[in-house]
């Protein structure tokens, strides 16, 4: 750390609280602002889908099949065209945002709960607890995610619940790995010892002293895994084992549109771009959060 020893600019007391400082940095972080904005738009579209969608996303009009979107010569009656069953693509895209976001959020929450618990316990206690949890992490990492997810979904049948649970139960490894090392590091810092000496109970130490200081890493991993879950769901759907139709999931839309790839490529391009943008936005938010909350703020 040349910087520290040479100028020690960090040693000068700051005027702002950590939160104010992070907020100030966040507003200047272009990736975070861009990703946040895109994400906010997608979330808003998802929330207000019932108001914004021109049609019922489930309404089939077999006489209006695969009408092209307006920029490929279609009409404004269906701005993004219709799918193979004559359903309005824009409406399905809007409702699909709900599904992707739901899958991402719930799967990431489940895996965050599992991974954080294991990671924090391993990092805090070390020793045998750590050995056992490290072993679990290794076992989990050795299992090929896509194959296991496929096998389980094939067994239980694809439904939103099954897909979300399977992904949630499979994606906890990174939470555990990252939080384990973060907790290990925080554990050795003396404020934890100070809290212990001041008679704080273990749950209180975990809640007050460990969690707030690993929270930024948790958020970063959570965004990564949310994006990961969304992409995996799309891949499962692509292989025919994702969320079940007629649910308008983006992954499913790509899978359905795949059939016409060579002739009506917009059928996969539109949900593909939406998926790409969503995942991109989430990742940029994650990167941004990391940059903004890292103490040295390396940028």
């Amino acid at each position: 750390m040349v910087e520290m020893s040479v100028t020690a600019p960090g040693s000068a007391p700051l005027r702002l609280t950590p939160r104010q400082r992070a907020w100030k940095r966040a507003r200047r972080h272009r990736g975070l602002v861009f990703g946040g904005a895109v994400l906010a738009v997608i979330v808003a579209l998802a929330i207000f889908a019932p108001l914004l969608a021109p049609y019922d996303p489930y309404l089939q009009t077999l006489s209006e099949r695969m009408k092209p979107p307006v920029f490929l010569g279609g009409s404004f009656a269906h701005p993004l065209g219709t799918d193979a069953l004559g359903r309005d693509y824009l409406s399905r895209l809007l409702y699909g945002a709900r599904v992707s976001l739901f899958i991402g959020l719930v799967a990431a929450t489940i895996s965050a709960l599992i991974g954080t618990t294991l990671g924090v316990l391993a990092g805090y206690f070390g020793g045998r607890v750590d050995t056992v949890i490290t072993f679990l992490i290794n076992v989990r990492l050795a299992l090929p995610v896509v194959l296991v997810a496929l096998a389980v979904v094939a067994l239980l049948g694809g439904s939103l619940t099954v897909v979300v649970s399977v992904l949630g139960l499979l994606l906890w490894d990174r939470f555990a790995v990252v939080l384990r090392s973060a907790t290990r590091q925080v554990r050795t810092i003396e404020y934890v010892a100070a809290a212990e000496v001041l008679g704080a109970s273990l749950p209180r130490i975990l809640y007050k002293d460990i969690m707030p200081n690993v929270a930024n890493q948790l958020i970063v991993v959570a965004t990564l895994e949310m994006a990961h879950a969304i992409i995996l769901e799309a891949a499962l759907s692509f292989l025919g084992l994702g969320v079940q139709p007629p649910t308008p999931s983006w992954g499913l839309m790509i899978s359905e549109g795949k059939a016409m790839l060579l002739f009506q490529s917009w059928l996969i391009t539109i949900p593909g771009v939406a998926l790409f943008l969503l995942v991109l936005a989430i990742n940029m938010v994650g990167d941004g959060v990391r940059d903004v909350t890292t103490p040295e703020g390396r940028d």
Binding site: L141, L143, F238, S265, L275, R298
Partner: protein, 305 residues
């Protein structure tokens, strides 16, 4: 070093054993194998006959013990679907997947390490931004979609490369790009942050104070240290890639082990499926052990301890 390695291997063996139990029990619950074997047009009697012939009526623990014991001798039984020894079927396909995996990891390393180093040397420069772009896009782009787009552009539009198959090396170009790109972001980011950390390390400052030329400082002193965690990551990514080859092999009609695994799941070909999950896990475990050994060799603190 020997103790370090032996320890790693024993841990790996325990992990492998657990994985075998998980994969066996997990996959053994996925539907009635007899129906799957019988196929689309089979009737009841046929199914009952199969059930008895293949011992699906035995307790699971017996079936597991039987399977594991044979597996240790390299015998994964006979494929329900192909009626051939699983080992023979897999050995054949694994070559393709391994080749694809090796090409992909090479592609990923060749793309990401120089990019990561360049990005770390000039933070916030154009190179750094380009590297960031590559990694952000790589993380966000669904591989099956990417594959389809590449087929459209390179195979159909430009007619430069074949759309499918493994007839010649050209058939591997697109799958390698898709699969390799999947691993690029993580490796590039780790190289970049690793280099940034190392470049601000005291010993790099010492090396500069010695008056070594920049090239030597960067490659001999910095990269050597920054590469250590990258080795582990590359091993992990290689393992993930083999598992992730399912999608890519399906898109490009490469009949490798990943595609075989997916097909086996859909037709309840238990012996093949179990063998593949186990083999993919073993590969992952072997890669990580290999990486540990390589790390021990790269990092004297582990070697001599």
């Amino acid at each position: 070093m020997l103790r370090f390695v032996v320890g790693k291997i024993v841990m790996a063996a325990l992990v492998a054993l657990t994985v075998s139990i998980i994969s066996f029990s997990l996959l053994h619950l996925s539907g009635d194998p007899a129906v799957a074997m019988a196929g689309e047009n089979a009737n009841d009697a046929a199914i009952q006959a199969i059930r008895e012939t293949y011992g699906f009526d035995r307790p699971l623990i017996v079936q597991y013990g039987d399977w594991l014991f044979s597996a240790l001798r390299g015998d994964f039984g006979e494929s329900y679907y192909f009626r051939m020894p699983v080992t023979q079927i897999i050995a054949d396909r694994l070559q393709i997947t391994m080749l694809l995996g090796l090409l992909s990891i090479t592609f990923a390393l060749v793309l990401s390490i120089p990019l990561g180093v360049a990005a770390a040397l000039r933070p916030n420069s154009l190179v750094d931004r380009a590297a960031l772009f590559v990694s952000v896009v790589g993380q966000a782009i669904p591989s099956f979609w990417f594959g389809l787009i590449l087929i459209v552009v390179f195979a159909i539009d430009l007619r430069l490369l074949p759309a499918s198959g493994a007839k010649s090396w050209t058939g591997f170009v697109l799958p390698t790009i898709v699969l390799g790109y999947y691993a690029t972001p993580a490796i590039m980011r780790l190289t970049r942050t690793g280099m940034l950390d190392v470049l601000s390390a005291d010993y790099v400052r010492t090396a500069r104070a010695k008056g070594l030329p920049a090239r030597k400082v960067i490659f001999k002193h910095a990269l050597r240290n920054a590469i250590i965690p990258v080795v582990s990551l590359a091993a992990v990514q290689m393992g993930f890639m083999l598992g992730g080859s399912v999608v890519v092999e399906s898109v490009f009609a490469l009949h490798g082990a990943g595609y075989l695994a997916w097909e086996s799941i859909s037709r309840n070909d238990l012996p093949t499926m179990q063998a593949l999950v186990l083999i993919f896990s073993m590969f992952y475990i072997a890669f990580t052990v290999l990486a540990d050994i390589l790390n021990a060799w790269l990092d004297p603190r582990l070697r001599v301890a």
